[in-house]
């Protein structure tokens, strides 16, 4: 499979107002990330708040500019593509946000909101445009009468369908879904996840699915990348990472995730403490301060991603191990 989007050595530092020794402190939001997504593949980005997953998603679309590193889209280096050319390419890369209440213009009728990206990219006009809007409404499961109505007339789930229709309007190849189902009630969330799964199959969409919910992630993703303090610490087959995580942080995350299957009885103690400050990331492994198996070397040197099971993990304490029996859960003991 060829990659549709590929980033290498990608970093983003934000300057803050805080100073130390006369120098402005920087937030290391994303540090040295390599990631490629194959055509038609769904990669999920998981991690806790502040881990850099939203920043990485926006960097990949060049909604914000990287501090260093490169982004290639469909074989073209877009890292420093001029604005006019980038605009043309934008048709092919779209984003769906978490909050369908703030991502839609309250003064625009639904039909206008969905037509807008089609018009901006000059893809259709007149009756052809109207037909495309109708087809998109059908596609996301909304009645065509929605065209004449305003966002406030719709529920959260319906608004998220509208936001998806709008993202699909210019017929993109690549979609970043940033916590796209996080604000929805579970019964509605399931409807939207089913819709995304259908779209993905029917349109061969490539997706970066950003989420903090491991259940959702393992349901939709082919591969999962786990971020901690701006770095990918583990990446691999979605089902395997969730069932048989290699990195100690992924293990802690899977254990801590509330689940109807694994109730409190057999739970080990939760991970202590909080992540270190991204203003002052530690020199060694960023997880060492909370890691149950960290040694002195982990605090001194930074582990790099190395092959494990079907993916990669950045940990000194894990060896490249053969794939375990998939039926055996890793945290059963």
């Amino acid at each position: 499979m060829s990659s549709l989007i590929e980033v290498s050595g990608l970093s983003k530092r934000f300057t803050t107002d805080q100073r130390r020794d006369g120098r402005r402190l920087e937030v290391h939001a994303v540090s040295d990330v390599d990631l490629d997504i194959a055509r038609g593949e769904v990669v999920a980005l998981v991690g806790e708040s502040g881990s850099g997953k939203t920043t990485l998603g926006r960097l990949m679309l060049r909604l914000i500019e990287p501090s260093s590193g490169a982004i290639r889209f469909d074989g073209v280096d877009i890292t420093s593509l001029p604005a006019a050319e980038m605009r043309r390419l934008r048709r092919r890369m779209q984003i769906v946000f978490q909050d369908p209440f703030s991502s839609l213009n309250p003064h625009l009728r639904i039909g206008e909101a969905i037509a807008e990206p089609i018009q901006i990219h000059g893809l259709a006009t007149g009756p052809a445009l109207a037909a495309r809007v109708d087809a998109l409404l059908d596609r996301v499961g909304l009645p065509r009468t929605a065209r004449e109505r305003f966002p406030h007339e719709f529920s959260g789930g319906q608004r998220q369908r509208i936001a998806i229709a709008r993202a699909l309007a210019p017929e993109p190849d690549f979609i970043v879904a940033d916590e796209a189902v996080a604000a929805l009630d579970v019964s509605i969330q399931a409807q939207i996840l089913n819709l995304l799964a259908d779209l993905r199959t029917d349109l061969n969409l490539t997706m970066l699915f950003i989420s903090h919910d491991l259940g959702v992630v393992q349901h939709i993703a082919d591969r999962v990348a786990v971020m901690y303090l701006g770095r990918i610490v583990e990446i691999g087959d979605g089902a395997r990472v969730m069932r048989d995580p290699v990195h100690p942080y992924t293990q802690a995350l899977v254990v801590a995730a509330p689940s109807l299957d694994a109730r409190r009885r057999n739970r080990p103690s939760p991970l202590p403490g909080d992540p270190p400050s991204p203003l002052d990331p530690p020199p060694g492994c960023s997880f060492a301060s909370r890691c149950p198996i960290a040694e002195e070397a982990c605090k001194r040197d930074r582990p790099v991603l190395k092959p494990v099971a079907d993916g990669l993990a950045a940990c000194f304490k894990t060896r490249s191990t053969p794939h375990k029996d998939p039926k055996e859960p890793a945290h059963a003991a």
Partner: protein
């Protein structure tokens, strides 16, 4: 002046007492909208015994938060309410609905503790967190300022906050979200309340922090024999903390029973749907989720008969769409479904 060991002894004595600490019966709340009365809560009854955790679960608009607000006496003005909310303990029985604001303030912190979803809006941004925690003790004259400050630091330590002496001097904005939530729990717990009401206390937190906070609430309620009313939209979180659960839909409890029974063998079609629509780590990848079709009815647009019937695949015309559906005892639970018995026999 009560030293801590005495309080602990009193608490364990409390834990062994029988009888419910909180009893809510036939709670009804309605709002006026366009001169019409809109029912938000239609006769909700439950009880929480000391040492026990009851979870109210449901999706937005089901009435779980308004129930907790009513119990805390924080209902918005303009809502009309009927029913009984009674808090019972060694000191007797108090009708929480009939209390004046001043009487209620006397209970808050000592007999009633509350934790909300967003600690930033519940904490005073200008006051050191240690002082905010200690305030409960000094306001009620439980101990001296110095002793209160000492206990506040001890409480932060109990919350798993590193360097509690220094953190007690911090202002809320200087702490992380997880730490602020722990500060709020410390505030709620330091007065050793009989009843803790926790409304989505971990919803804004990351999973590893959420796991820490849930463990904390669990340990404290067990140690101190506290009755806990836990409100959440997330069945999986509830699975971690509750002894019993009440599932709410459109202003009513539709199923209530011991947590394991309800989760392992749900009876109400809505509970079944809620559990099935949640993607679990064990769900086969890319299998279709069994979503509940449609959406929760808006208040005032409640369908006739069973409120869930338009979304229910088992609804029977002429049966489920006429008349109110009572809660029926079935298989160790109370279930509000006319077809519950039939289905099991079939």
């Amino acid at each position: 002046m009560n030293p801590l060991p005495a309080l602990a002894a009193a608490a364990s004595e409390k834990a062994t007492q029988s009888g419910p600490t909180l009893a809510v019966s036939d709670l009804r709340i309605s709002a006026k909208r366009d001169r019409k009365s809109v029912e938000l809560l239609r006769g909700v009854s439950f009880h929480v015994a000391s040492g026990e955790t009851l979870a109210l679960v449901g999706e937005s608009g089901c009435g779980k938060s308004i129930t907790s607000l009513a119990v805390m006496g924080l209902l918005a003005p303009g809502l009309s309410m009927s029913g009984e909310v009674a808090l019972t303990d060694a000191g007797g029985r108090i009708d929480l609905v009939a209390l004046s604001a001043a009487e209620r303030r006397k209970l808050c912190g000592r007999r009633l503790g509350m934790i909300f979803q967003e600690p930033m809006t519940s904490l005073n941004p200008m006051q050191r967190v240690g002082d905010q925690i200690a305030e409960t003790l000094t306001t009620h004259g439980i101990c001296s300022r110095q002793e209160a400050a000492r206990r506040a630091v001890a409480m932060l330590d109990r919350m798993g906050i590193a360097d509690p002496g220094r953190r007690a001097l911090a202002l809320p904005h200087e702490l992380s979200g997880g730490m602020r939530q722990r500060v709020m729990i410390a505030m709620a717990m330091i007065g050793e309340p009989d009843l803790l009401i926790a409304d989505e206390p971990t919803t804004a937190l990351d999973v590893t922090v959420q796991a820490q906070i849930l463990e904390l609430i669990r340990d404290l309620s067990r140690e101190r024999g506290m009755a806990t009313l836990f409100i959440s939209h997330d069945l999986a979180v509830v699975a971690d903390i509750a002894d019993r659960v009440a599932v709410m839909y459109a202003g009513e409890i539709v199923e209530t029973g011991p947590i394991d029974q309800v989760l392992d063998a749900p009876l109400h079609p809505y509970t079944i749907g809620l559990i099935a629509s949640r993607p679990a780590l064990s769900t086969e990848r890319r299998a279709r989720l069994s979503a509940i079709f449609g959406a929760v009815p808006e208040p005032g647009r409640r369908p006739q008969g069973c409120a869930f019937h338009p979304r229910c695949s088992l609804a029977k015309p002429g049966l489920c769409d006429v008349g109110d559906v009572p809660l029926k005892r079935f298989d160790g639970r109370d279930v509000r479904c006319l077809r519950v018995g039939e289905r099991v026999q079939a």
